[in-house]
Symmetry: C4
Subunit: 206 residues, 4 copies
């Protein structure tokens, strides 16, 4: 690092922003585990009965872990194309991190309520959170890509098109899951799980 | 990294200190989420009634998330100008991190008490924490900027002036919020929220 | 970092993946501590009686800390040989991080149940988690090493052989501990502890 | 990073080990805050009465935060002189991180028991943890410095002497606090606080 006192016009480099974002995402994904607690084991029952009782929580944990994992890959891909960061991008990125961190809460709510009458509302909350997060990704990307505002001088058109298409697809997919959760929470859960698996499939580009 | 055993006169580089600080701030901002818990859902009520009950906690979470986010940007801007670190700066920075970490506690207290008789005291505690944190920023900056002690050889005068003015403004703003919390806790809450939004506004320099 | 907009064919570098993994592992290992809680001290008893009561939790904490520590060293060694990352490796690595994060849960379960009738089942769950984690390591390594898919052009044959052998040994060792836990949970606990110590022994290569 | 497949003789660089250690220390110091909880506010009492009730917890939080902060500076100073890492150093460093992480637990215990009959035992546990941690620092340093095993070719003799002397002093200081805790827990608390302040004093070398 140069010790000279140059003017600081561009205060934030994408690398720095990404490192901080990585930290927040790594913590958010790891904190998911602390919501898993074994319920009191009643007389005559075993660990397996207890684990069975919290299967909904484990399912919610797994889906959220996978989904935040996919979000991390998306975030990284984004910042491979973004070459500059301005204040608006900083703020949009912060809102994205807010949503990713927030995922912990609807995950806990879903785990708690998956087998109750409130399953439907929990799924609306859960898929709604993912839909807002997907929307935040799209907003950040649209802002960055508009007239190549934050991209390099000569971005690969195919890369830009691919990201635009993928993000639109992701947003529509989570909006669909959100809509489905009003009709059939179980179907919405399966769709959300399926989306996580789909985005994780090796056939997709990294 | 050179393997040679040169004398270590300047043990800490600003880059290293900033990386550690980034880690602490990333954890502090992410830990805010674990204070959000859905209360037991009573018979005949839904998830939405429960969420409504913890709206104060969600509001406190959001304001603190935004405020710590702004603190992170401030911290980063600071260390773009600071070129050397001495022991005093190290200690002042540690006190700053202590305050940023501490924000988790008054946030939880505020969320718990926002709708109770103790709202006023909770706001005094909450805004007081932010005022002390803003003061710590000013102390660290004044120490670094005094006779350009920790700045580079030729710092941009306009950058130095801008930081000095911004920090003074921030300190006065949070002192005002603190003072207001004695008179009207609700107004103080609105001011604190407004300050977070204001500091987040894209019109500000990054 | 170059500001030019080159095509991003290889989106993920091993260095970046390792940094993110390090973050997750560092958090997973540190979170182990928050499951340690002193039970209410009853009248006439002291801190030491209370600590004695949670000795099982402390033992589980220590074994898990050592085991995750060893996993970190393994992960690092792996990524010293792996020179490229493709999507499958990314996903396999994510599953590995999922397992390492998950260790927190069976550790808490084991600590809770070590002195109860459910000790056996808790050990099956605990050693089973380690066995699956060891299997994930092997799968990731086999995938990377197959026809030197993700290794450099000319990997040291002895390094490749050593990792292959070590991982096979680790997998067999944890499968054995898993099998033993069905017969004698106490022996399985001793074996798991012994394995952690063995892998930590200075005689092993770094 | 070179993509060539050179032999990996020295798998761990001090830089990498330090980055991982920084992560663990940053998390350990930040997790301290989640043990601070406001007790239920009884009728007729205010936030201030509640805060007063947990003053012991706040005191324990502050002392531990300062002490872990000092440990971080020590750790960093150590790795400015250590130029190589072997397996033993890796293991000793892991034990050090284990102790630093563990500090969270006696801190919570002390906060809980500071105003009870068990204050003495809690202080023995608390100071004992710091004494063991200081001992771990000394062991790691002695191992690294013995015949300049892990130092560079030509370490500054004055730096080596200074670290040796400082660590010996630190160890003796915490052993004294440990001994005092058997006689007067309150004096031991004051000494522990004083040591944290002393090590933080700007007069000390960074």
């Amino acid at each position: 690092m140069s010790q000279a006192a140059r003017p600081n016009q561009a205060f934030f480099t994408p690398a720095r922003l990404e490192a901080f974002s990585d930290g927040v995402i790594a913590i958010a994904i790891t904190l998911l585990i602390i919501e898993l607690h074994l319920p009191e084991i009643e007389a005559g029952l075993s660990v397996w009965n207890s684990l069975q009782q919290i299967l909904p929580n484990i399912a919610a944990f797994l889906i959220s872990f996978m989904t935040i994992g996919v979000m991390w890959v998306n975030h990284h891909n984004l910042f491979k194309v973004i070459r500059h960061v301005d204040h608006t991008a900083l703020v949009l990125n912060a809102l994205l991190l807010l949503m990713i961190t927030f995922v912990n809460f609807p995950t806990a709510v879903l785990g708690e309520l998956l087998l109750t009458d409130e399953f439907g509302n929990a799924m609306i909350f859960y898929t709604g959170t993912f839909a807002v997060t997907a929307a935040m990704y799209s907003v950040l990307w649209r802002y960055a890509a508009y007239k190549h505002r934050l991209l390099g001088e000569n971005p690969e058109p195919s890369v830009v098109r691919t990201i635009s298409r993928d993000y639109l697809f992701g947003l529509l997919a989570y909006l669909s899951a959100f809509a489905i959760s009003f009709i059939s929470p179980m179907l919405a859960l399966i769709v959300t799980f399926g989306l996580a698996v789909f985005f994780v499939l090796p056939s997709r580009r990294v």
